[in-house]
Symmetry: C2
Subunit: 180 residues, 2 copies
């Protein structure tokens, strides 16, 4: 149950314990997400950066990046709402790991400061929001997807996506802000 709720809290902001990167280069996977039929977009790992964040609490500790295709990034930069059809946002979630290597250098440079560096460890999941105002009219114009190791999460998981994004209705259901 917890897993289901988690997965619904989707793109680029909140976390679940699901889905991920098909390969180092983000090649498409043939499987589509339940309900929405969203496949992993080819080349998403090459997209431009929207923002970064990290999530902490309980056993979940992640560093995260949101990437956008050209349409999405242009809209973010111009503050254009709603996002135009064709916009896709990718949220990449990595389990974070403390970097002993970095911490050692920090301790040398700043004795006693207690700096800690947390870097991207194993990928946990990747999520997508695809804007198609016609196809996804019932869910704010967005289709959702959640993948781990190239495989989509369950239908139950995907049923929770839109409800979690509803609080961001005034920003076209997108939580992430562009990092300037």
């Amino acid at each position: 149950m917890k897993r289901i709720v988690l997965a619904g809290i989707a793109t680029g902001v909140l976390a679940d314990a699901i889905a991920c990167m098909a390969s180092a280069y983000g090649h498409a996977d043939s499987k589509a997400s339940p309900i929405y039929g969203v496949k992993i977009p080819p080349g998403y790992r090459d997209w431009q950066l929207i923002s970064v964040n990290h999530l902490a609490g309980n056993k979940l500790k992640q560093v995260r990046a949101q990437l956008g295709n050209e349409i999405a990034v242009k809209a973010f930069r111009e503050g254009k709402l709603p996002f135009p059809d064709g916009a896709i946002i990718a949220a990449l979630h990595w389990n974070e790991t403390s970097s002993d290597e970095n911490n050692e250098v920090l301790a040398t440079g700043f004795p006693g400061a207690g700096f800690q560096s947390f870097v991207a460890g194993p990928a946990e999941n990747i999520q997508f929001m695809v804007k198609d105002s016609g196809k996804y009219a019932a869910t704010g114009g967005w289709g959702f997807a959640d993948f781990k190791d190239g495989k989509p999460a369950s239908e139950a998981v995907h049923k929770t996506c839109f409800s979690c994004h509803e609080p961001a209705k005034d920003r076209d259901f997108v939580f992430t802000h562009y990092a300037r």
Copy 2:
């Protein structure tokens, strides 16, 4: 003094309290970094993502992204060392801010879990490493730069860059690993 040491711990891993983004789109600034003569590369904000991390301790709390130009990203993906001439790595550092908006959604989805979301707030600084094995032979083949609000940090700051990167000599002085 602290500020100087901090700035030396450069690209994409460790932090200082200096330098930054010339504009939302990363346009070049006319000023070059002391010692190395590195200017802000036009279009760096469009580059591809290498990895993300966050840094905590003392009063410093940052979320961070490392971007690379095509040459750098290709080398990262192929595990090619040393990095070829022309590779440029950009480290973007934002002071992190707790997201009340995200936390509210998390609290609803996971009552009692104590999840906390930290997102990119105001930009703190941006740093660059530029590979030119001839020009920068004395510093591992890398030229360094640290900018805040488009202005380069002091010469004293830039004198610390290479020494802090020396522990990563076996990875061509680059701390960041590519996030897959």
